[in-house]
Amino acid sequence: MDLFRVENLTFSYPQAEKKALDGVSLTIKSGEFAVLCGQSGCGKTTLLKMLKRELSPHGVRQGNVRYNGTELGDLDERSAACEIGFVMQNPENQVVTDKVWHELAFGPESMGLATDVIRRRVGEMASFFGIQAWFRGNTGELSGGQKQLLNLASVMVMQPKVLILDEPTSQLDPIAASDFITTLGKLNRELGLTIILAEHRLEEVFPAADKVLVMEEGKVLLCGLPREIGRQLRAISPKHPMLAGLPSAVRIFSGLNIDDACPLTVKDGRRFLSAHFTGAIDRVEIPEYTHSQIIAAEMKNVWFRYGRDLPDVLRGVSFTVYQGESFCVLGGNGTGKTTALNVLAGLNQAYRGKIVIGGKKIKEYKGNELYRHNIALLPQNPQTVFLKNNVREDFDEICKVMEYSAAERDALIAEIAVQLGIAHLTDKHPYDLSGGEQQKCALAKMLLLKPKILLLDEPTKGIDAFAKQTLSGILRGLKAQGITVIIVTHDVEFACENSDRCALFFDGEIVSADTPNSFFAENNFYTSSANRISRHIYKNAVTCDEVIELCKRNYEAAHEQ
Amino acid sequence: MKKKDLHVILFLILAAAVLLKGTHIRSVEEYYRTHIDDITPESETVFISIRCNTVLNNRDKLNPALQSDEFVPPDGVILQKSEYVLREGDTAFDMLERAVRANRIQMEYQGGNLNVYNSVYVQGINYLYEFSCGPLSGWMYLVNGVFPNYGSSKYTLCDGDTVEWVYTCDLGCDVGCEWMEGG
C-alpha cells in the first residue's frame, strides 16, 4: 500500500528565482525505510516539510501529495498532527519543556488524552528508548544524543504511522549517531514503522534502508535499492560529487568496476575484497614524514580542571606541533579534547604545566596579543562567531580591530572570499546560510586575523560530504601558505585525509601520536571504515582512494603475469 | 558568597546608622541625674501635668500588657500639675522632656526630622503608646485649656502657661478637642 504518493510536486519559495522542488514524484510504501540523500541545498528539507502539513513552507506549489490516498490538505487536523511524526536536525531547539517527562507528555497532552492513557504511553516509550534513568531529569542537562533520542521518543509517543526525519544525526557525535540510527532500524524492523530519513552520514543507514532517493537541484535524480545506487551514480558521472558521501564499501566497489553484488557493510566489503583481490602489493607508499624544525605550539605536562573541587579534565597533556603541520586530535566525547584546545587558545588557564606558542610562553602574551596574528580558534558552533546582520559587516569589524587600511581590507576580504568560495554569501545574514556555508564564512573571519596557528573544533559537525571535501581543499590551501592547523575531531575519515599527524586523546591525555597511515593501521577499532575493510589484505591503506589504488595495482600486477 | 555580601551590607548600614546618630552612652543613673532650676521669685514659670483618665473608661480596649496600676494609675494621673522654671525659648515639648526626666517617667518620641510635620511627635509616655488603647488613641496637649493645631516642639511657651498632656482614646473627642472632630 502506498502511504505517501507525491506526484509531480513543484515548489518555489516567495521571491526565489530557482525552484526548490522541480517535478518531484515518488511513492513511499507502508513499512518502508526510505533514505533521502543529496548535497545541502538540494531540496531535501523542503520535500520533507511538504510531507508534514503543519511545517509546509509558504510559496508557490503545484502537484499533489497524497497521504493514505487522501490529499494532505484535506486530511483532518488530528490525524495530520498525530499520524505523521517529524524530527528535525537540531536536537536543542526541538525540546519544548524543562523536564524530560513533560516533554514526553507534550504530544499526548496536545491530543487531549486522559492522564492514565498518557501515563501508560509515556511509560512504554521511556522503557523502549531506555529513558528511565533520566526520566525525571531536566532536559537542559542532557547530552546532544540524549536530546535527539528524547525528541524521537516524544514523537513516537503519539503513535505515528510514519516518521520523517531531517538529518537527525548531523549534530551528534559518531557514537550517539550510530545509536540513533540503530534505534531507527529497530523501530522499522520491530514495529513496521514507515521511516523517511534525510541523511548525509550514510555509512550505517545504507544497510538498514529499503530504498534510497538521491536528490539534486530540486529533482529526484535516482531512486533505487541501496545496492544499485553506487553503480547508477557512476553511470551518470564517474566523478559525481554525491559519490563521496556514500558508505566506504560502496565507494570502493564503485571505484573498482567489478561485476558483483555491491557490498554495503564492512563485513561485506571484506568478503568482496578477498574474493577479487590479492595482497601481493600490500602497502601504499607514503612519503616519509618530515617536519619543520620550528615549533609552532607546544604543551608540556598540562593539567587543568574547571573548579577546585572538580575532577581533572587534562592530566598532563604533552604534545608538540611543528610549523606548517596539520595535527589532528581524535577521541571520544567528553575526553577533554575541546578543553585542551581552549587551554591552548588561552581561554582557560592550566593550573600546572607549560604552554609555548610561537616560542613564547602563553602567560607572557599580554591583552589581546595572543589573538593578533598568532592564534585563531574556530569554535564548534560557527554561529557564535557572527554578531552582525550580514557576513560582510562582521568581516569589516574584524578588519577594523586588526587596523587594516581600507585598501588592504578590501583586498584581503576579496582574496579570502575567492579562496574559500564565499563571495556570493557576504551580503546574507549569517543565520540564513547552510551549515557548510556558515563554517566557511566563520573560517574566513578567522583568516582575516592572519593567524600563524589555526585551531578548529569539530569542523565537520553538521556539514555534508561535499562540504567536507571543500573544507579539505581549503585546509590544503592553508597548509600551502604555511599556516599550522590543529584540528579536534570525531571524524576519523576526515582526519585521515587532512593530517600530517594524528593523536588519540583519552582520559585527559594524549596517548599516541603518529602519521595517519601508521596511526590508523595500528588501531583496531578507532580507524576508518576503508581501513577496516582492507586491513586483512593491505597493511596501511586508510582512505577509500588508497584502497582502490592498491586494488587496481594488484589487479594490474596479476594480469601482467 | 552572596550571603556573606548581604551580611557585610547589613553591617555597614548598621554601622552607618550608629555613626550618623552619634554615640553618646550614659548609664541610667547618669541620665536621670538632671539639673532642675530652682524656682526663685523672679523666674518665669509654667505648669505641666500628664493625665490618662480616658483610659479608665476604656479598659476593655487597653493592651493587656498594660493592664496594671503601674502603667495606668488608678486616678489616671501620671504627673500631678507641677510648676517648672521656663527657660528662654522653651517649647511645650522641651517642657515635657524636662518634666518626665526629672520625675523618671519613660517617654519616647519621633524626632522632628523623621516626619513630614517637621515637629517632634510624642509616641508614648509611661509605656502608654499611641494605639495602646484602641486604634484612635494617642497623646495630645493643651495650653491654657486650648488644643494648639500644631506640633509641641513648635509651640513656644510664655510665663504662667499651663501645659496639659492628655491621652485620648477617640481622636480627641473624649478630651474635648473640637477641631479634631471637624477634620
Binding site: Q94, V96, T97, V385 | V18, G22, S27, Q106, G124, Y127
Partner: protein
Amino acid sequence: MRAFESVHPAAAFAYFISVLLVAMFTAHPVLLCEALLGAVLFCAILSAKGFWKNMASYVPLFAIIALSNPLFSHNGVTMLFFLNGNPVTLEAVLYGADIAVMLIAVIYWFQCYSFVMTSDKFLYLFGKAIPKLSLVLSMALRFIPLFKAQLIRVNRAQKAMGLYSGKSFTDKLRSAGRVLLALITWSLENAVETGDSMRARGYGLHGRSHFALFRFTGRDGVLLGISAALTGLTLTGRALGGADFAFYPRITGISTAPLSLAVYLAFGALTLLPFIIETEESLKWTYFVSKI
C-alpha cells in the same frame, strides 16, 4: 530521595503554607523556637552537606537583627543604658532576638520549601488553574539555561578573536549590549524551530489535556489531615489567647496554662512533622537492612 520529596505537591504546599502562616504572624518565643527547630532539623536532613557552613552564616545575621532593634525601639521597663538620650532596654534587645529567630526560621522554611517544591511541582499545582501559563513557565525554565550557555559560547568565541574583551567598563558594557542583541536574533531564530516542533506535535489542537506525574495517595491524605488538624488547633488556641505574649513594656511570662501548652504542643508537632516522617523512614530502612 527523601520521604518528604515524594509527598504530593498539594499536601506539601499546604503544609508549608500553614507553618509559614503561623510562624510569620506570631511573636511568641516558644512558637518561634519550635518553628526554628523544626526548620533546622528538616533542612539538616534535606541537605546534609552544606548545612553547617550555611548555619554559620546565620549567626552574624542573628546578632545584627537582635542588636539593631533597640536602636529604633525604646519601649521597655528594664533600661540598660542611654544611647544619645534614648534608653536601650532589655525588652527591646529580647524582642530583636525574637524577630531574628522568626526571620531565620522563615528563611530555613523557605530553603526547605525550595528544596521540596521543585519547579515541576509548582507548575503542577498552578498549571491546573492556568494551563497556558504553566506551559509558558516550563518553556521559560527550559530556555534560560539554553540562553546562558549560548551567551558563554559567544563570549568565548569573540574573545578568541580578540574582540569584545576590552578592559574598560564602558567597553565591556557596549560589547555586552552587542552580544545580547545578536543573542536575541539567535533566540528568535530558535523560537521558530521550537514553534515548528510544537505544531508538529499537535499543539493547538482542540481540547488539550494536562498531564502530571503526581498521584494523590492515602498517605498524602493522612499528612494533609494531620497538618490541617494541628494547624487548626494552633490557630484556635491562639484565637482564644493561648499564645498571647508581650515584650513591651514588660515581658510577660511564658504561660503554662493548659490552653497554652496545647498550642505549644500542636505547633511543635506540626513543625516536627517532616523530621518525624524522615526519621521514621530511615529507621525503617535500617530495620530492613538489618533483616537482610
